[in-house]
């Protein structure tokens, strides 16, 4: 320590109210522990003055408020080191003075204490749904965290993206249901308890719905008819981009959410499971001109938000405001934030909510070469992270297929979802779409390869997989918006009865359709994503927008795993099958040629007869054969795989393509088998006895392997 003590910046130069301080360092922004004290640095371009406001944890009034002397301001940053603070019990914020002139973009309000945009933890919502003190003069308080977590040998896993099976999940929903059996229900620690389940299912990546600190009480209300408490449950409304949600940590009330989340990530990694975060950089929780002033609005409104020429908020997010992410200062904050999560939390990838917004200029127009997206794509720290865009926004910008990719951005393939749904419910003229989807959508990504697309049929937005085949219409009355919320183009089909029914045939068809969907999803080129619970038939009772429910509409009912054991086993099999067959996981698109002279092209298309695919309007049968000699684009060898699907109401007879001498077709999957068993374990696949007369059942799918 001796040599450090020689540095003069470890000693105070100023004193006020018994607090000692000195000029600080401009970078890094935020509050950083330094020897003997804490360095505070905050950016604001238009404020006239700023003070640091400090509280003992939980106290209603501050213990000190120190104005930044003029000489502590370098450029547009205020910086100060304060000595002898108890960093565990400290809560801090800023009070900024400046013009309140909305027409010119300024909304300074010196009556407010503001959260630090670079805070590493936020106090105020430490326990999920604990009653807030509505009169708190500073409800969302910046805190410091320890950043010395012992990761031992851990680092992000860097599994090739085409080998991932992503599982989208909500932290609280996963273990909150009483049936979960978890000790730490609804938390990061709860997920950790369920790692054996994730391993059993076989997924190797979890994508967590938003875990940045948000306010579950935001826009909370009681349902006008039922009196039920409705809350900001999903959390797509960020309070602070660097802070994990304390209410998602069993130890959040003790301020240990950072360690708890890091422990979860470390344990998931040691079990071979990557961690993606669903990040919401398109807007914040401050809403529009009627919304609260929490942080950005009071620190530098004009910098952080896209404003109309009159000073109102552009609303491309559909939630009131739009983060001005191509402003250089905001762009740097986003970059700092992602680097922080990648380096400090070992996050493997990010899914960007409404990412089309990230390509908009400050005036809202789409940019040809968006600097933020380019910066992220070429960033040295993020170089191995997966970057995934939800390539549309609520302002009408739809970029699936042409999101600025810079050779590495992937997209949620919304077209895949729509086309597979349409095909499965029996729409005419969808065989060509299905053929494209199974190949990894070369029509959308002709130059980007299969890994540009994240394939999904369901996600948190919309119906669950069970509901997709149990409801024609959304049933959102419970959301308290008179059924006006949620999308109407669900492309769903109830199989003959709206909602729950006792009809054995309808129920059997529903589960067969779920299996058909899982089959197509897990044999498609590209990156499959499963929504939490679909592997066991989770229902939201027809609600396609459960954003506001902290109850069984969202919580995963683990009893379904036993009730639908057959479905769970099937989902598990499909994942095992995908992992066992590299021919399903190419990076580049098929070439439709046989450049290795193996006797077949890498992919061939078939119908009821071999090599006679029927893409006509009336066709509902599709088959293709993947040549095992071209697995991983020819780098590996695999079995041949034949996939056939039928969305017609009656069975069809197929003639299978002939295999090279000595090889036979074997059945791995047949969702239409009358006895109920719809798959065979790896290595146990029976030989197909009549390859010229294979009966493909009504609304069924088969997967055969040739060996």
């Amino acid at each position: 320590m001796a040599e450090y003590d020689l540095r003069i910046d470890y000693y105070p130069t100023h004193e006020l109210q018994g607090i000692e301080y000195r000029r600080g360092h401009v970078l890094p922004f935020g509050a950083t522990m330094v020897p003997n004290g804490v360095n505070f640095s905050v950016y604001s371009s238009a404020s006239t003055s700023c003070s640091l406001v400090m509280f003992e944890r939980g106290e209603p009034l501050p213990f000190a408020e120190i104005p930044f002397p003029e000489e502590f301001r370098i450029g547009n940053a205020y910086c100060m080191i304060v000595f002898d603070l108890d960093f565990e019990s400290l809560e801090y914020g800023y009070r900024m003075d400046g013009p309140h002139d909305p027409a010119n973009g300024h909304r300074f309000d010196n009556s407010k204490i503001l959260s630090d945009p670079y805070a590493k933890a936020i106090g105020g919502r430490d326990t999920w749904m604990a009653s807030p003190d509505w009169d708190n003069i500073y409800p969302f308080r910046s805190r410091l965290v320890f950043e010395d977590f012992d990761w031992e040998h851990d680092r992000p896993l860097q599994i090739p993206i085409e080998d991932l099976v992503i599982y989208e999940m909500h932290v609280r929903s996963f273990t909150m249901h009483p049936s979960s059996g978890a000790k730490y229900k609804g938390t990061f620690a709860g997920i950790r308890e369920k790692i054996p389940y994730l391993k059993e299912l076989g997924i190797n990546c979890v994508e967590l719905m938003p875990i940045y600190e948000f306010d579950e009480w935001e826009h909370s209300k009681l349902h006008s008819d039922t009196g039920q408490q409705l809350v900001n449950y999903w959390g797509y409304s960020t309070l602070n981009f660097f802070s994990p949600k304390a209410g998602y940590a069993a130890s959040g009330k003790l301020g240990m959410q950072v360690d708890e989340l890091k422990t979860l990530i470390k344990d998931l990694h040691s079990n071979g499971i990557e961690v993606f975060l669903d990040v919401v950089f398109n807007h914040t929780a401050e809403g529009d001109h009627r919304g609260p002033t929490i942080s950005f609005k009071g620190i530098d409104n004009k910098t952080y938000y896209m404003l109309t020429p009159e000073g109102y908020y552009f609303n491309f997010s559909g939630t009131g405001n739009t983060l001005n992410c191509n402003n250089p200062v905001v762009r740097n904050m986003v970059l700092d934030c992602l680097r922080y999560w990648a380096s400090e939390y070992h996050i493997d990838g990010f899914r960007f909510d409404l990412a089309a917004i990230l390509g908009r200029a400050p005036d809202g127009s789409p940019l040809n070469n968006p600097p933020l997206l380019e910066s992220l794509a070429f960033d040295p720290v993020l170089a191995k992270c997966k970057l995934i865009a939800e390539a549309w926004d609520a302002g009408g910008l739809y970029q699936v297929g042409n999101f600025p990719a810079y050779g590495r951005w992937a997209e949620w393939n919304g077209k895949y979802r729509d086309h597979i749904r349409q095909y499965l419910k029996g729409d005419a003229g969808r065989v060509g779409h299905l053929a494209q989807a199974i190949q990894g959508s070369p029509w959308l990504y002709p130059t980007r390869g299969t890994t540009a697309g994240i394939n999904f049929i369901t996600c948190h937005d919309g119906f669950t997989l069970y509901d997709l085949f149990a409801y024609n219409e959304k049933h959102n009355q419970a959301n308290g918006e008179n059924g006006n919320d949620g999308c109407n183009d669900n492309e769903s089909w109830n199989c003959g009865c709206e909602g729950e029914c006792d009809d054995t045939e309808i129920n059997a068809l529903r589960y067969r359709q779920i299996k058909n969907a899982l089959t197509i999803l897990l044999v498609s080129q590209g990156v499959p994503m499963i929504y939490m619970g679909d592997e066991m038939g989770r229902t939201q009772h027809g609600n396609n927008n459960t954003y506001c429910h902290d109850n069984e509409l969202n919580w995963l009912n683990w009893a379904l795993k036993d009730k639908n054991a057959d479905l769970f086993a099937f989902a598990r099999h499909m994942i095992v099958f995908r992992k066992a067959h590299p021919v399903l996981r190419n990076r580049d698109h098929f070439t439709y040629s046989d450049y290795k002279n193996t006797g077949f092209a890498d992919i061939t298309f078939h119908g009821a007869n071999p090599y006679q695919a029927d893409f006509s309007e009336g066709s509902r049968v599709f088959a293709c054969m993947l040549n095992g000699q071209y697995a991983k684009n020819g780098a590996e060898t695999d079995d041949h795989i034949y996939i056939a699907t039928n969305s017609y109401w009656d069975a069809v007879v197929l003639e299978l393509p002939q295999l090279p001498g000595g090889m036979h077709w074997h059945t791995s999957v047949n969702t239409g088998m009358p006895n109920g068993a719809s798959y065979f374990d790896l290595g146990q696949e029976p030989v197909v006895e009549h390859p010229k007369h294979f009966i493909l059942g009504p609304r069924s799918a088969i997967v055969l392997i040739g060996k």
């Binding site: 108890d86 320890f146 012992d150 620690a189 130890s251 003790l254 301020g255 240990m256 360690d259």
Partner: protein, 109 residues
């Protein structure tokens, strides 16, 4: 917070009383680290510990790191359910050997 150090042939035993938080952690650290020396077994008796904060857990981890560098082990004795819970949630528990009694800790390798 109070620490009582006892050195036996088998181990260094530190009995801690009170709360281990950011206010008391530096004192605890200063009491324990110097007595580790070249010993490879440390027993921390937490029977009388009422609370361990984030900073407190880090002192325990620092002791672990010191012992680990000598292929040694740290035993925790008398950990309350509440503290055990916190140590599980935050992952710290994996670094330590937990026993219910001091005798058990001393008898273990």
């Amino acid at each position: 917070m109070k620490v009582t150090i006892q050195e036996t042939e088998a181990a260094v035993i530190a009995a801690i009383e009170g709360s281990i938080d950011s206010k008391t952690a530096p004192d605890l650290q200063q009491s324990i680290l110097p007595v580790i020396n070249d010993r490879n077994k440390m027993v921390l008796d937490l029977t009388e510990v009422t609370f361990v904060s984030s900073a407190g857990l880090r002192v325990l981890l620092m002791v672990y790191r010191q012992l680990k560098s000598k292929d040694g082990k740290v035993f925790l004795v008398g950990v309350s359910d509440e503290i055990k819970d916190v140590m599980f949630m935050t992952g710290f528990i994996t670094f330590f050997e937990i026993t219910s009694t001091l005798e058990e800790a001393l008898a273990s390798n």
